[in-house]
Symmetry: C2
Subunit: 215 residues, 2 copies
């Protein structure tokens, strides 16, 4: 009904429907009319509550980014005596974060996937600052604790992103992996099993670069 009180509800319904749609098809392919229909709201409500389609998109990104960081807390570099144990915990946490996204943060993963391919000014910055940056920093500390100072800066960064690649690949290449007969795990047990494999793979790879054993 018109008047007061309903405002917040409409705005929230709009935000929720927009998150679903933007995550599903991306910014460009999403339709304001379809979002409003899903939210049971009038098209003009977008302008009234958010300003424009683009502002609505950025609002969705804000929510998605905050949903992501407010999930299970990130393991820190000093959590274990052996940095390899920290890496094991970190990989498991990261892969759970990436692969089980439907409950606590349903949008971030797909939003990011679309944004990676078709960047929108401002959106990637939000994600990098709130999510990717802190994760990379922490991973950098853990990897540094394993390989030591022997490897060059460039190589250490390569290794950091290599470990990250191991964690996010299953999510990102889901379509192709499925078509190749190796769909990514969806259950918690399956994810943990795969995370163990990835963690040991990463530790083995990093150990080759540790203590001057670099090539």
């Amino acid at each position: 009904m018109p008047g007061t009180g309903e405002t917040e509800q409409t705005k929230d319904r709009l935000l929720h429907a927009a998150g679903d749609e933007f995550a599903r098809v991306g910014f460009g392919a999403a339709s304001v009319r379809a979002i409003c229909a899903a939210a049971d709201a009038n098209v003009s409500a977008v302008k009234y509550h958010f300003g424009s389609k683009e502002d609505l998109y950025l609002a969705v990104w804000m929510v998605a980014a905050s949903q992501m960081v407010s999930s299970e807390p990130m393991p820190r570099a000093g959590d274990h005596d052996d940095p390899r144990d920290t890496l094991r915990a970190f990989v498991a946490w990261f892969m759970r974060l990436v692969l089980t996204e439907s409950v606590s943060h349903p949008w971030a993963g797909q939003l990011l996937a679309h944004e990676t391919v078709s960047p929108t000014p401002g959106a990637l910055e939000t994600f990098v600052r709130h999510c990717a940056g802190p994760i990379k920093e922490e991973m950098s500390r853990i990897v540094g604790a394993i390989v030591g100072r022997q490897a060059g800066t460039k190589t250490r960064d390569d290794l950091v992103f290599a470990v990250i690649a191991l964690c996010v690949n299953a999510k990102h290449s889901r379509g192709i992996l499925t078509k190749l007969g190796h769909p990514p795990p969806t259950t918690k047990a399956g994810i943990n099993r795969m995370a163990k494999v990835m963690a040991e793979f990463a530790i083995g790879g990093l150990d080759g670069f540790a203590n001057g054993a670099a090539h």
Copy 2:
């Protein structure tokens, strides 16, 4: 001019302009009018020569896939006595294929990136059958030669795709990597350097699973 002879030229110009545009913005966001303008052709030429926008897209995919496989030949599992040397060669070949794509196969990488996020019926199948499938099969043989039969099938496949992830991550995450201050290499020397790092990382990781040393 109307008549004959010019036909092939118009069809080729359309195919080329469509490849550029589809690779740049993806199928959905690409405009037939923009493609025809770039190809200096009439909009009706798309229907005449290809049938529809979707058929034009599939035609572009055919060209892109054949361009990709007809580049530098893929290293085979038996090329070296030590499968680790084969892996080194394969990683270097794969990363060159993925990271230097502008010359011999300008479209496949971006087409695939868009397709991964917004699948189009038929297009992914073309890519998997002609490109991803053979690459995965060969990588599977190489990884199998290193880790032996100790690891389970599921784990072995995980490892295969882990190595693949190391090779394609730089390309796929280019946007985020650049924003995080670690842009992927573009020169041949830079790519080879990174390929060496990734290959040794992969070998170290795989060795941990070899000869019953699995966890």
